[in-house]
Amino acid sequence: MSEEPKSYAGSAVQEPLDTRALDATRHGEDTREFEAFLRGRIVGQDAAIEAVTELYQMFLVGMSAPDRPVGNLLFLGPTGSGKTYVVEVVAEALFGNPHAFIKVDCAEFQEHHEISKLIGSPPGYIGHLHTPPLLTQESLAKYHTEKLKLSLILFDEIEKASEALWQLLLGILDKASLTLGDNSHVDLSQCMIFMTSNLGATEMSSLAEGGLGFAARAPAVDASLDEKISRTATEAARRKFSPEFMNRLDKVVVFKTLRPEQLAQVLELELAKVQQRITRAVGQNHFTFRCAPEVKQWLLQEGTDPKYGARHLKRVIEKNIVYALANLVATKQVASGDCIEITLKPDGGLAFRKAPVVVSRESAAE
């Protein structure tokens, strides 16, 4: 008769191993907060949110690839779809300041010699040691906090960059290292690098004509069109950019043209921002405003179009709502605690009037 197997732990019955399935898609608490912040402010660009969130999660747990930037992201898409805005929102989420990133406008670096604006003049050249480089270890650390040592760099419209900037960019994306004009080294391994480009925008617009934008379509068609647009943009990028460059990217995100319901959400966000600005600017003396549905429709008509997306929306709100409210304040037609109702005049302009004060039964009884 064979003996019962003995447990080395001294127990006859061995506890089963913990073999529960793990959920590798879940994010940590900080990342979930970060993602929620982005989702609350970015409309219709889920792929961009997911790409940035993944990289941020990797950075937080210290699993970003060593000796490389934290992430190299290429944003492609039509103008007014929010490519630069995403970077601003990321900066706001991380540092509380939408301008807390270094922006390199590649259109300003179209000539070979202009690279010295970025890295300083090399020795022997006039201006050496007198041309402060844009990318330095100090400028990268400018927005660092005690808790977060991460820098954001945006190379805007990279298709306009000169060959010299391309060579520089390849080094940065691959080795996270940059040598300045004075031979000092800049470490970019704590940087998230964003690049934007409008490449393929014309082809995307022609694909979208009659489909995306203001025309209503069936969801199934939407999905296939999105796929086509995404492929068109990526192919345009592959045609323009070298394989060395494309291979250094962690993710290529194609921004979608915003649809009418998404533009309406953008409008709501922008109007909420105006109210926040009023509250912040005038403190306790603030007043509120609300727009009638036809006003919102009018603002959307004036501020958005399929070609330029929501690019002009802020400007239209500023000119038609903010300036008008400021004029009302200047002429003392608005006082603290007022609520301004904005409606559309029959001739198309906006009409402003004070909303009637609603007195609750309780306060009336007092």
Binding site: A281, N285, Y323, A326, N327, A330, T331
Partner: protein, 121 residues
């Protein structure tokens, strides 16, 4: 970034105007009386002053005179609900009726003139 001092005892307008100027790319400093305006000039120079006319204590024209003694040639725009007064120290009068966007246009042109004068010198 151009620096603009905005002086108005109506705090709501003062702050809102600064917020709009900030959105337009200027650094705008709000103060609600002339004494604070003069104190601000002790600390830094400005490229332009936008002031209300009627304020308790020192009014807008007196302020224009005082700041130009400190910084000769500084453009001063006076916002008014009343009317204009002949005064060499005031570059421009702007009625508070329909203040925006005219204020922005005038600020732009005043600053551009100032730049052109600097280049000419």
């Amino acid at each position: 970034m151009k620096k603009i001092l905005v002086v108005d005892n109506d705090e709501m307008l003062c702050r809102l105007a600064c917020d709009i100027l900030h959105t337009e790319g200027y650094r705008a400093v709000p103060v609600t009386n002339a004494a604070d305006a003069m104190a601000a000039f002790e600390q830094e120079d400005f490229d332009l002053v936008v002031t209300d006319l009627g304020m308790p204590g020192m009014h807008g024209v007196e302020l224009a005179r005082a700041v130009q003694q400190k910084q000769p040639g500084l453009p001063v725009i006076v916002m008014t609900s009343y009317g204009e007064v002949e005064c060499e120290h005031v570059k421009l009068w702007l009625p508070k009726e329909y203040l925006f966007p005219r204020l922005l246009e005038k600020i732009r042109s005043c600053l551009a003139e100032g730049e052109a004068e600097k280049v000419a010198k």
